[in-house]
Every structure is written in C-alpha cells, then in structure tokens.
Subunit: 287 residues, 2 copies
Amino acid sequence: MKQLAVKKKGPIAFQGARGAFSEEATRKLAGANVAVLPCERFEELFLSLKSGRASGAVVPIENTLAGSVHENYDHLVNYEFPIVAETSVRIIHNLIAPKGVTFSKIKRAFSHPVALNQCLDFFARNPQIERIPFYDTAGSVKMIMEEGLTDAAAIASSVAAQIYGARILRRSIESDRRNFTRFFLLRRPADARRSLPAARNAQWKTSLVFSTRNIPGALFRALSAFALRDLNLTKIESRPLRGKPWEYLFYVDFLGRVDTPNAQNALRHLGELADFLRVLGCYPKGA
Amino acid sequence: MKQLAVKKKGPIAFQGARGAFSEEATRKLAGANVAVLPCERFEELFLSLKSGRASGAVVPIENTLAGSVHENYDHLVNYEFPIVAETSVRIIHNLIAPKGVTFSKIKRAFSHPVALNQCLDFFARNPQIERIPFYDTAGSVKMIMEEGLTDAAAIASSVAAQIYGARILRRSIESDRRNFTRFFLLRRPADARRSLPAARNAQWKTSLVFSTRNIPGALFRALSAFALRDLNLTKIESRPLRGKPWEYLFYVDFLGRVDTPNAQNALRHLGELADFLRVLGCYPKGA
C-alpha cells in the first residue's frame, strides 16, 4: 500500500520532449500509465525531485555507442538521490510521417543530428531524402504533424509516433543495432527505503563512486576489496578529476545487495583505501 | 628526412566540417599548416587511411562530459591503425556573427543541438535570442556567412570564425568549462614505426584493449600484470560485449613505452589471462 502511495505523490521527471527514448525508459521503470514531467536539462531532473515537483527521475547513465554520461554521475554524487531501479532501452529509429503520406512522397527527414547520423546507411540507400537537423527526435514528429507537411518525415521512437498520432513508414532504420541506453530511476531517500524490499528474490546490483590518490597499484588494492570477497564487478570506469592531476574518480557496479555482510565488509575495506566513497544505490538488476 | 616525407604523402582526415573542434585537434597534432581532409563519418577516417587518400587520421576518443566514443574504439580494434600521438582540446563555444552585426541585433543563434544545450546559461541570460538547431557547429558559421544574415549568429569554435571570416561577439559561452575532448592521431603501421623514435625523452603512454571471461576476480588478476610491475594506469574502462552476456572488453592506458622489458613482461602476463589482447598504440603523453 505504501508503494502505491509513493507512486501517486507526483510525476516522474525525464529529459527530453514527450515521446523521447527517456519516456520509453520511464514507462518501463515506473509503469506504462505513470504521469510524466518532461524537463529540458539533466539538472532539472534532480531539482524537480528535490523540490517535490516529481516523485522520481529517470536519467540516462551510459550508451553502448557513446559511453557514460559523466554529467549525470556528477549529479548523482552531488544530489545524493538513490538509484532504485535500472533498465536498458534499445535505441530504434523509425521513419515517421503523417497518416496518408507514403514513402515515395518523402523528400525531407527531420530529426536530431545524432539520430540522423545513426541512419546514414538508410540515407545512402535513399538519396532522394534530404536530412534536416531538428531540435530533438520526438519534437520533429510533433512539428511535422502540427505543420501538416506532406513531403516530410521525422526520425524518432515508436512511442513518439503513437503520442503524436503519426504513422511509421520504415522501422529500425539505424545503421548499428547495438545501440542501447541504460537508465536509472531515482527516488528521494525516504521513498527509496520504502521500495527496497519489493524484489527480495531478484538479483541485485550496487553502484558506487570512489577516488584514490595516485600511488602505484592504488586501483589494484581498491579492487582487492571486491575480489577477495568474490564480489563480481559488472562495470568499472576511471575518470580523471579535472584540476586535480593524477587523481581519479572510479565508477564501480557490483552484483549483490549492499546490506549483506559480505558487501558491507567490502565497502569497509574499500573505505580504508579510498579518499572518497559514496554508494549511489542498490537496485534489482535490469533485464 | 623520412619524417617529412611521411607528412607530405597526404592530408590528415578528421570528422566534421572545416573549423570543427576535430580540425583544432588535427592542427595541434600534425601542425598548423597541415593539409586536411574533412569526412562525414568516423569510419571514413579509417577508410581514407586504408585507401591512402589520407596519411593520418584524427579521431575523438573520449569527452569529459560525454564519455568514451566506443564506436572509435571498435574501429581501432578492427582497422589496426596504431595511435602515434594524443592531445586534448578544450571545447570552447563562441557566439559568432558576420562582421558589422552587433550583439544587440542577434535574434537567432544556429548550432548543433549538443552545442546549444551546452550554452543554456547563456540563453537563460539572453532570452531575446532564439536557439535554432543546425547540422554542425562550424557549418552553422559557414551558413550565416553565405546567407549574409544580419539578425543571426552561430555557435562554434574560434577556428570556424577564422576560416569563414566571421567575428566572435562573445567568447566561451558554454555553461561547463570542464569540457575537453581527447583525440588520437593514427598513422599506417609503417609510418608509425618510422615516427616512433621522434620523442625519446617524452613520457610515454600505451593504450590497449583486452577481454576476459567472467570468472570471479578475472579483472583483478588481469590488473595484477600491471600492479606487480609498478606500471601506472591512467585509464580503465569496462564495456559489456553485446550478445555475449558476462563478457567484457576493457580499455586500459598505462604510462610507459610498450618496448621496455617491464611492459613486455606485463603484456605477456596479461596475455596468459586474457581471451583477447590488442595493443592500440604507444605515443608521447599529451599535455
């Protein structure tokens, strides 16, 4: 019952326009019919959670082609909202047009330049279609629908086609299908504690950030805290600290619940070796 | 003399339009007056080097806000062109207009949406200026100059302003100054061997990629190859191999020349533990 009460408190914030891939992640993480709050900037997600305008926030954390979103790691460290769930969304680009517009009529395709660039094979096969940059993927669907364009398409998610009542002319036109984005669902600390017991039988992951001084073998020693306790890492990444030459921040995910004795021992051990250590969250492993 | 001969063989390929940040990196890596070959896609950089159209290629490999460019790591593994140099370019966005157009006349600013989004504080302070997405940063300067727009600006590098004869109205309008991109210069293997002795006294870095099976502590054991020999890592990053659950690719950079006995021993040791191991290059450490 408390779970439901938490969910009713407010919408889930995501970055982008209605129909963005972040909205798809939001519906996977918080339910198909959840109320949503589209935001322009990543930091607004954290501010809306802080102010209570949102009851949760969905943030992209890494992409299989483009890497980790360091900005969001920074916000995770600064705002201290715990991760309560993760999911992965395959980035599928579709050619979308108003109903009644056929493929042979399409002379222009609008989308975010990153999306246009991920469909270059499609454009090479269809040189009659001009690429036109637009502010975002979902927004380009909204625009062609509002303007009633009859020679234009947009490139966006299938959710965007659905929201704006448009039709998908070609599905999955991206060149590289290994394009996935991993998202975290964040809650306020009190709500996170309430939702923790929900999935007792799931496999769990714990995400953390730590830094070490640059002494030879510092990382090796830090990782011994996990290896000596048979805790399996699923992610490790170093990030140089700008302005502090030779100091590094490390992102680590390991399989396991943070509240088990084994994990607690590992974190205590790591705490002896690290200058800075913060657990970002413990959550059921996503599919 | 041979060095010079290599350099004269052909232009250096980079991705983007003339005046892109990649061109700035190219000039830092290969000389201010080097001939350049702008390409549309990352893979074209590798293809132009393979075909001999270019004598070198400059590829972005990681950004301090956006993470590692996994696509280019994939190309590095597949094409086997060695890294011979690295550099880091600070991404500085400038408001650029045709000469004679003053700041108070600017009603619109064109640029790549990623650049526009990195200048949101500027737009919040100047709500009279509308943001308009364009295909790329440098291309937006070219366009406002060709069209002779009198109420519009572009957001791009200072090199772009110079190339297209435009004027910088506001310098460094990006919200976050910790925005750096690291680039590699690649050569064909024969040319790389020739250029290796050039900087005998410099501090060197070696970059490599390896994979391990998912047995507990596999990464820890792999890193022992470096830690036991006091080789300092400057980067480590895991990347899940899609389609091969629980297998990971690791990117590692360490300080040292690959041809020293110590590094050779470390690589032999790592080779015993890794399923796959490839040295991507050995190059003088960038500033």
